[in-house]
Amino acid sequence: MCIAVPAEVIEKKEGNIAVVDYGDLKQEVRVDLVDVDIGEFVLVHVGFAIQKLSREEGLETREIFRQVYAAMEE
């Protein structure tokens, strides 16, 4: 529920929608809550980008979150 995952914005679409890349998965998310451009990193929670992240932070935390969440889902 409070789980959030860093992703890179790779495309912007009509109606507050962007396509993001989690590294191994691409997905459409809502970007109502942030002003972002292509190439920027965001933190995605329940299908919404909730905050922008620096690129470095995005890449660094992505791996750690992946490990923790993969175990939680099992």
């Binding site: 529920m1 409070c2 959030a4 109502d32 809550l33 329940v46 620096s54 175990a71």
Partner: protein, 342 residues
């Protein structure tokens, strides 16, 4: 020597008295359990999980209200974690109703767009989640869509915990993702050591070290050990959108009494999306009658292994309390990692 071991050694030097710190975040608990962080801590320093799982703190009365909506023939949409949480007469999963798991509120709206039936989104979550719902309610919505607002705010619960004092807390590790959205200025009202920490093992150990240092110095401030994602102001746009749609209200938490200003209800302009008003649904207080000690776990005065049912009668397949249901519940997390460690 790895960074983690070095921080752990420093913690052993510094913990010259009992120190109890609370975190309020399922992701922190998962990281702590996964990396065995408790085994690296000195005996006198403890980290406990507080009410950091939004699904777990949703009281039975609100699950019962969702079941009432099933009885009215509504399609219920919500997060998977909520499905098996027991109300006083079963769970959403066992209700036999049309209950659908969605990734977020926007997917519940898509369901409403494709049907004439009433669709109600059971809207749980802290300040991380509430802005996503608020943004959705500000867009164009079909008239057969509404939400049951079960949102909770973290600072009023922290205030309650500090005033009440039973957990003997010396400081808080603030919820990282809540602070990503809200910033941490609201937490400056609390006269105890606090730290905003990230989620990798070194980040968490460093956060604990910062808290222990504050205790030793006798100071109380907020150290931000996660400045890459969290700033004092948070996400201003998200905060404004949330404030436009929701207002604080007094609500009960599972394991807690009514905490003033700790819930969110829709502002009057949004009545048509308020399932409580639309279907005349009341949240009733339910007395608990079971050996489940989730209430104590959520208040930080017991840990899952203190529960007689833990890993015996209560497992993720046969959950008795919500803390064994949600991925962010302390019991579920402890179960996951105990199994792994064997």
């Amino acid at each position: 020597m790895s960074l983690g071991t070095e921080i752990s050694r420093k913690l052993h030097d510094i913990a010259d008295r009992d120190m109890v710190f609370m975190h309020i975040c399922g992701t922190h608990e998962a990281a702590i359990a996964r990396y065995g962080i408790r085994s690296l801590l000195p005996d006198r320093l403890r980290i406990v999980m507080g009410p950091g799982c939004p699904v777990c703190i949703t009281p039975q009365g609100e699950i019962d209200a969702a079941l009432d909506l099933v009885d009215r023939g509504c399609i219920i949409a919500t997060y998977g974690d909520l499905l098996r949480v027991p109300g006083s007469r079963g769970s959403l999963e066992s209700s036999g109703g049309d209950v659908r798991v969605v990734q977020g509120v926007h997917k519940a709206v898509e369901i409403a767009e494709g049907t004439d039936r009433e669709v109600v989104f059971i809207s749980v979550g802290f300040e991380t989640t509430a802005p996503t719902v608020a943004a959705t309610l500000l867009s164009h919505l079909p008239s057969n869509f509404s939400i049951l607002s079960c949102h909770r705010l973290v600072p009023p619960a922290m205030k309650w915990l500090l005033e009440q004092g039973e957990a003997h807390l010396h400081g808080f590790m603030l919820p990282g993702h809540v602070c990503t959205v809200m910033g941490y200025s609201e937490y400056e009202q609390f006269p105890v050591p606090q730290v905003v920490a990230g989620f990798d093992p070194e980040d968490i150990l460093l956060g604990l070290l910062m808290l222990a240092r504050q205790v030793q110095e006798g100071s109380s401030r907020i150290d931000n050990a996660y400045p890459r994602a969290v700033c004092r102001e948070g996400n201003m746009k998200a905060k404004e959108i949330m404030g436009e749609v929701f207002e604080p209200c007094d609500v009960e938490w599972r394991g807690f009494p009514v905490i003033p200003g700790s819930g969110l209800r829709l502002r009057p302009g949004f009545d048509q999306y308020d399932a409580q008003k639309k279907f005349d649904i009341e949240f009733r207080h339910v007395e608990k009658h079971s050996a489940c000690i989730c209430d104590k776990v959520l208040r930080g005065i017991a840990q899952p292994s203190d529960c007689k049912l833990f890993d015996r009668a209560c497992t993720p397949r046969t959950p008795i309390g919500p803390c064994m249901v949600s991925h962010e519940g302390a019991c579920k997390i402890w179960h996951t990692y105990r199994v792994k460690m064997r």
